[in-house]
Symmetry: C2
Subunit: 315 residues, 2 copies
């Protein structure tokens, strides 16, 4: 397939691996890029020297294009941008913030810029800021999410209607079937997070992997809406968050309870009881940890099977 | 198209009009059936004699198959079942309750039975109860919804995996594009609510129609999770509900505040400030009130266009 996404990034398949905190270092990103997708290093959980190291290692591990994801609420995003420019990273995905912040400086330096949005308003803002493509991420997605709670099924056609630049669908996509559906809805490619979090190359703790594999229907919840909404697996930590919600706790009480390093604790250190475990609803369909190459091969096979099956359908 | 849904109901298109409270009387149901879909009378908001009248009028207004929807939490569902059998209604959709309650008696009387579910557990229960088909309804849908908050994108492939009987997708579907995507995900047909609520034949109040047309991204919320989750348009009533939520109100406080007849007030009487306005997220894509025949013709045209566009796509 050749389309606006494969040619924008110069990749084989319009499959982007979401830049996730604590899961997507150079190993995962380079494996995805080597398999024909676009790998992203998730810098949101990295100290500066670690981010630089991952970028350098990724460049050595693949001769294919790769990129980095920078959540703009991250306090060191200025410094990460400097590292990105110094290391001549060619693709940057920004998220969780104002797309105007870095798009110009990145574009002036020849970087391809993509911004992640969860609503129509920010999609239009991103276009205005001059980004090359948009990721539109539905309510079912893991990690940070929008206040509108618009699902992928509704979000993609809605954004497609108002945006002409390449559009990448995210949220609830972990299979060739869902990828095909997202493209029928108007997307030019997909961003997949959860399925890549549960791979051999992901840096997620094995105990977090186990929780993803165990997760079934209804086992994730969009929570912490008082601060920034985030989708987590149900565990003791989430129970305590919900107790605070039920008694109508203030933002300050939430922040005090949360403290620091909850996501690191859960996702990277494997404290699946007291830590934060960010994953999408589609974890209910993930039954095993697999190598990246197998995941991508399976998605391609299933996409082509569904395409065959749907071929010529007429009402 | 001939498939398991068109042959189960003996209809032209696998398009079912959701049986909605205060919107879907005999006029809407017969218009949908006459246009080649399956119309459903929503009995959840009808007194018994009214339900009987609507069934009789519908049978006169169309020689095509039609059905009724019975929410099982409705206190008079026993009596509605008797009316259905007396009037020889051939198709019944049950929702919001245990599928075992009426499936046997309906099947013994030659009625085709479909049950609406929002999660995997109830899909399996419905199959066990012996229903002929399942509607799986995602988080984005209007009206009553599941506690799992699973979206259509995730729900349909998940249910398809565990269920062999005909599967109807609902939630976020108001266009040919979304219908095609739902079928790629594994559905055999679709149930459409919101789009049919905003038709000339719907019995929704014109002021409710206006609110649907005005609704944009983020303008509906899944609320009242303390009682039964329901998706509503944001208005003054919802603001008050959210104030109760924020102060951690008890179930009893909610019930006392709600009182009775809130949905009737909003959807049927047009009090869009103090009434309950049930609609799906996809209202953000509904820009006008149209006749049913045009809606169905547009869905068919768009479905076929998308099918053409997606034809032969290979990764």
């Amino acid at each position: 397939m050749n389309n606006s996404i494969t040619s924008l990034f110069n990749i084989k398949y319009p499959i982007i691996q979401g830049g996730m905190i604590w899961c997507s270092g150079w190993k995962l990103a380079s494996a995805v890029s080597n398999a024909g997708g676009l790998g992203l290093i998730g810098t949101g959980s990295m100290r500066l020297e670690i981010a630089e190291e991952h970028i350098k290692k990724c460049a050595k591990a693949t001769d294919k294009p790769f990129g980095v994801n920078i959540p703009l609420l991250y306090p060191y995003s200025d410094e990460i941008i400097s590292i990105v420019l110094k290391e001549k990273v060619k693709i940057v995905f920004t998220s969780a913030g104002n797309p105007k912040k870095y798009t110009s400086v990145l574009k002036e330096n020849g970087v391809t810029v993509v911004h992640v949005v969860a609503n129509k308003k920010f999609a239009l803002k991103a276009v205005e800021a001059g980004v090359d493509a948009i990721v539109a991420e539905g309510f079912e997605a893991g990690g940070h999410n929008g206040f509108e709670e618009t699902t992928t099924m509704v979000l993609i056609p809605m954004i497609r209607e108002v945006v002409d630049i390449p559009l990448i669908a995210a949220g609830g996509i972990a299979s060739g079937k869902a990828m095909y559906a997202a493209m029928a809805l108007g997307a030019d490619g997909v961003q997949i997070g959860s399925r890549f979090a549960a791979t051999a190359e992901s840096s997620a703790h094995p105990k977090f992997h186990e929780e993803i594999v165990k997760a079934d229907d209804g086992d994730t919840v969009l929570t912490l809406k008082q601060i920034v909404p985030v989708r987590l697996i149900k565990n003791d930590f989430l129970k305590k968050v919900q107790q605070l919600e039920n008694k109508g706790a203030t933002k300050e009480e939430f922040l005090q309870f949360l403290g620091k390093g909850r996501a690191r604790k859960g996702m990277f250190e494997g404290d699946t009881i007291e830590g934060e475990l960010e994953i999408g609803q589609v974890a209910s369909m993930i039954r095993s940890v697999e190598p990246v190459a197998k995941i991508i091969a399976d998605i391609v096979t299933e996409f082509n099977q569904v395409s065959e099956k749907m071929s010529g359908r007429k009402l």
